[in-house]
Symmetry: C2
Subunit: 130 residues, 2 copies
Amino acid sequence: MENEHLVYYFNSNDKPSPEYLSKVRKRFKQWVLDICNKPFDQEWLDYQNEIGLRHTYKKGKTDNVKNTPSIVNYRYMVAFIYPITATIKPFLAKKGHSQEDIDKMHNAWFKAVVLSDILWTKSYIKEGKF
Amino acid sequence: MENEHLVYYFNSNDKPSPEYLSKVRKRFKQWVLDICNKPFDQEWLDYQNEIGLRHTYKKGKTDNVKNTPSIVNYRYMVAFIYPITATIKPFLAKKGHSQEDIDKMHNAWFKAVVLSDILWTKSYIKEGKF
């Protein structure tokens, strides 16, 4: 299995839980849709905060997953910025937009991912250092 | 002045210190050269750790700067990933390499920046969460 060190976080009782993974995927999709469609208002901000907590203090609680790792380690939260930015480009490029528009969309996506990630990782940061 | 919220971190006694900024710029250049030329070995890793400390617990100590902010806040450390990745591309593009090679160099740069940033921010992270 690829990326076993990441699949680990979807474990329940020492093995990957397809149910858990499937529920997380749905929420992941919602995060993408929200980035593209919603204003970055208080509601959006509150939900990014909730996403952060679901990777730290509330991990597994939303889906009531038994014996899952209690946190997604910080290092993977920031590392996430690379693949999610690099792999989006082909999707942006396949609807016939100009190269300039594709680059602009890609930059906007990149910035929104970095911003999301900063907000998600707030709950990992020592008091007063955010 | 542009980006006053960032220039603030180079303050000494409530105003920007050109000497401090100039010394930091030299070290910034060294970080770029190291990313491009040095193996990512223990020495490199130790220096990234030192860079992190110089933004938190040892900020201003290296240059003996008086009354400078005691930390560069975490949110700016991660936000840094965007401009430093987006602005490098024209430099990579001006030496006559193929578009494919430019994209590969850009991806390698992007990954190295994210990796550096993860290492630098270690000293901001709560015990056990890194």
